[in-house]
């Protein structure tokens, strides 16, 4: 935004006043008029709107990276028998009534990332952005996902659960979260409000110049096209 003191207009007004040619209400003798022309308000408002969108998109990107990473750490630890439990692994974003898949688990322990761009339209009026990682698997009325996650005791059932191959086991989601939550919070702090945010914002800031009402307006445009894609790893 720029605000200019319009000297030319002021001088013209003073000359007209002296020549008695000033139309409209006449100022009292001895007084002098001052006028301001403010330019850049429209551009400022437009950039502030974009800034809100940018903050929402950036926050969604950060949350997407965290949940994608968490799923990528969980799936290889998920017990495998038929592989359906691993394939049920899902990381998804929720903002308002919109759900966006970030990643899905695969039988081999890896994940498939949805590399599509985050939709700006759904984020525009979002009041919250929520990241979810979930597993769902039921069989014969038994909640396999919960049972394999929560049943820690290896004794008592008579047989060791078939699905517990070495390297896999219960708490396949909670343990990766517990082990990494401090890193995730630090990452979120850095990327949403710290250096990471500054760095990515710099990438999208461009200096612009244009003429407005006879003045030259220099301003900074936040130009991003919704390409704040997530990587799934942090």
């Amino acid at each position: 935004m720029a605000m200019k003191f319009d000297v030319d207009r002021l001088v013209q007004r003073a000359l007209k006043l002296r020549a008695g040619r000033l139309e409209g209400p006449q100022p009292e003798e001895g007084n002098i008029g001052v006028s301001f022309t403010t330019i850049g308000i429209d551009e400022t408002k437009m950039e502030l709107d974009k800034l809100g969108d940018f903050i929402s998109s950036n926050t969604a990107r950060v949350v997407a990276n965290i949940i994608g990473d968490l799923l990528a750490r969980s799936v290889p630890r998920t017990p495998i028998d038929t592989g359906e439990l691993r394939e049920s692994g899902r990381a998804f974003l929720q903002f308002g009534h919109t759900f966006i898949d970030v990643a899905k688990g695969k039988k081999d322990g890896s994940v498939t990332l949805n590399t599509a761009r985050l939709p700006k339209s759904g984020l525009k009026n979002a009041r919250f952005i929520r990241g979810n990682v979930s597993f769902t698997r039921e069989s014969n009325g038994k909640d396999i996902a919960v049972f394999t996650h929560e049943y820690l005791n290896p004794y008592g059932s008579g047989t060791s659960p078939k699905a517990r191959t070495p390297g896999t086991g219960p708490k396949y989601l909670e343990n990766p979260w517990n082990e990494n939550k401090e890193s995730y919070l630090e990452y979120a702090r850095r990327e949403i409000a710290g250096k990471g945010m500054e760095t990515i914002m710099q990438k999208y800031l461009h200096k612009r110049t244009k003429r407005v009402k006879g003045f030259t307006l220099n301003y900074t445009e936040l130009a991003f096209g919704g390409d704040l894609v997530y990587r799934g790893k942090i």
Partner: protein
């Protein structure tokens, strides 16, 4: 070597018969009889087992730790299991374990895991995070 599981077990052993946990169980808790650590091969009904499962990393000063534990109950009825686990959550949440740390329940109600193979005992679990000075 003692662990935080031993601290929790010792605390539970001190509870009187009228305390809510013992009242729900119908007995006081005795280590090796109806109270176990790590796992249990006991076939008796109405037992609880404290099982560690990692938790968050220790603090960088290496003086404080943030482990997680699960308390599993195997009971003769759903009613007993539910009441016992609810009493455990109510008693242990934000409990300072006689000055040895602070325990926080991760759930407000227990998680039912169904019936043990053979259909004899009902399994319920509840999970807890503990913050404590390294033992």
């Amino acid at each position: 070597m003692s662990t935080i599981c031993n601290v929790v077990a010792s605390y539970l052993e001190t509870l009187s018969a009228t305390q809510a946990i013992c009242d729900a169980l119908g007995d006081t808790l005795t280590f090796g009889t109806n109270l176990f650590i790590g796992g249990s091969e006991a076939t008796e009904t109405n037992i609880i087992t404290i099982i560690p499962y990692g938790g968050s990393p220790p603090e960088i000063d290496n003086k404080r730790q943030n482990p997680s534990i699960q308390i599993e109950s195997k009971t003769s009825s759903r009613h007993t299991g539910l009441n016992l686990q609810q009493a455990l959550i109510n008693t242990l949440h934000m409990n300072e374990l006689n000055g040895n740390g602070k325990i926080r329940a991760n759930q407000s109600m227990p998680i039912p895991l169904g019936v043990e193979l053979g259909g004899r005992r009902m399994i319920y679990v509840s999970n807890y995070n503990i913050k404590h000075v390294k033992i």
